[in-house]
Amino acid sequence: MPENTSIQVRDFEITTGNRSKSFENIVVALMIACSAVAIVVTIGIIFSLLFESINFFKKVPMSEFLFGTTWSPQTALRADQVGASGRFGAVPLISGTLLISFIAMCVATPLGLFSAIYLSEYAGNKTRSIVKPLLEILAGIPTVVYGFFAALTVAPLLRAGGEGIGLNVSSESALAAGVVMGIMIIPLISSLSDDVINAVPQSLRDASLGLGSTDSETIRRVILPAAIPGIAGSLLLAASRAIGETMIVVMAAGLAANLTANPLEAVTTITAQIVALLTGDQEFDSAKTLSAFALGLLLFAVTLILNMISLKIVNKYREQYD
């Protein structure tokens, strides 16, 4: 009978528990190891990029890579062929990357920001609950799909449109790739900015509205100035995303290393060249293959710096209102 279960007074034993401490230590060690994977991966990236890049810079001087304006990495089959050494000036790739990213930001910044403002300040709950997920679908669509759409639909459309008004638009124009990439990063900007705008304390809004400002005046004069650092952070993150984007430019921007600022011409990007250099059969120690790693290192360094700055800004901003 349970009622009879007496309280057996156990020894007041508090120095050993009934559990396997060594097992628990193993579990904790395993968890630490898993956390350290993040560090290992970072080190792995830096190490492999650096190592191959150093090999590359043994063959091609760094100054040519950073300041050369001709990119033609074709290495000849025979040593006595014309242009056997290839030219590895990355400037056209950098300018192409910046051009396309700039176009993308020009498209995404106003669209993303205004969407965020509308959703956080004007839209009712119902609209918000429908539109927000729809915008996020844009972020969920694989980039290869954007690339396909850019190459097959947007580029011909721009070309036809250009012809209509007497402009010569290249079939692999920077504009097509940039616009489509811009659409792709809209949700990134809108959702980050939305968070940032929502983090602005209600009291600031109330203060402004209480003084008789209209909604738009409140947004422009009070909320945006307060949210600017956070928004800047999200824009940097979006720019880093645009610079590192690969499939859209591979499929829609082509491989012509033109040094131009004309968005209607074809340009190529760092990422597109990496793909071109490394797909297909390769000799691993040729300058051509190694140059891909130097480009990778450049890309990694630039995006890392942008991400670090952006994270810093956003964290600082969060602290301010926490």
């Binding site: 349970p2 279960t5 007041f12 508090i14 120095t15 050993t16 528990g17 009934n18 559990r19």
Partner: protein
């Protein structure tokens, strides 16, 4: 007044949260098989003291405890002490009922299971029933032991937490304002229960309500601003407090 032995002896206990000192040299003996209540205004350190007894303060990074606390004569802050084993002997019931989101049976069985107190399923079932009966909950839940504990009413949840605590048969049960989230009827049931549990366990209860302290406890300690102002028989504290601050508190002038 009957002679009692002390189960907990605290001597010169200081607690710091970072730079801030939360307790100043508390020395207090807590008798065995009695209910001791810790009272005092908010922030006076009574909960902090309670949490020193089963070393829950260890979980707070910035918390530092010095001084000497002995249970059954053993220094619980000695380096060889396993906090986990200590807590198996010093149960705790929290302010807000916090049953695990599992079945009622599993809630009670969890402690005995991790501490290996039962040898087989039958013993476990017996122990669960005993604990639930002790907590006065058995008749209400015996037909739905497999339903989730979070589906019970607040008062039932708190009694489930008490059953869960006594299932490991600890020497001491610490209760941190166990009725503050409950309605008066549920509170009355818990108070009655506490009185019954005293037979088997030594109970330390932190409470905001002086009536509760008067109703359930035999001993009372009054805390104020991190100091132990006075302690003694509950009756004495409430009828003839020695210190002015105690007087003021129990008559409602501070707090």
């Amino acid at each position: 007044m009957s002679k009692t032995t002390s189960i907990i002896e605290a001597k010169d206990v200081d607690v710091f949260y970072g730079e801030k000192q939360a307790l100043n040299g508390i020395s207090l003996d807590i008798p065995e098989n009695k209910v001791t209540s810790l009272i005092g205004p908010s922030g006076c350190g009574k909960s902090t003291f309670l949490r020193c007894i089963n070393r829950m303060n260890d979980l707070v990074d910035i918390c530092r405890v010095s001084g000497d606390i002995r249970i059954s004569g053993q220094d619980i802050y000695a380096p060889e002490v396993d906090v986990v084993a200590l807590r198996a002997n010093v149960g705790m019931v929290f302010q807000k009922p916090n049953p695990f989101p599992k079945s009622i049976f599993e809630n009670v069985a969890y402690g005995p299971k991790i501490h290996g107190l039962t040898a087989n399923k039958a013993e476990m079932e017996e122990l669960v029933e005993w604990s639930l009966r002790k907590a006065g909950l058995w008749n209400e839940v015996k037909d739905r032991l497999n339903e989730t504990g979070t589906g019970l009413s607040g008062g039932q949840q708190q009694r489930l937490c008490i059953a869960r605590a006594i299932a490991v048969k600890p020497r001491v049960i610490l209760m941190d304002e166990p009725c503050s989230a409950l309605d008066p009827i549920a509170t009355a049931i818990i108070e009655e229960l506490i009185d019954e549990l005293r037979e088997n366990f030594s109970i330390v209860i932190v409470t905001h309500s002086m009536q509760q302290a008067a109703r359930v406890s035999q001993r009372t300690a009054f805390f104020h601003m991190g100091n132990l102002v006075e302690s003694g028989n509950t009756k004495n504290i409430f009828t003839s407090p020695k210190d002015e601050r105690t007087q003021n508190y129990i008559t409602g002038r501070i707090g």
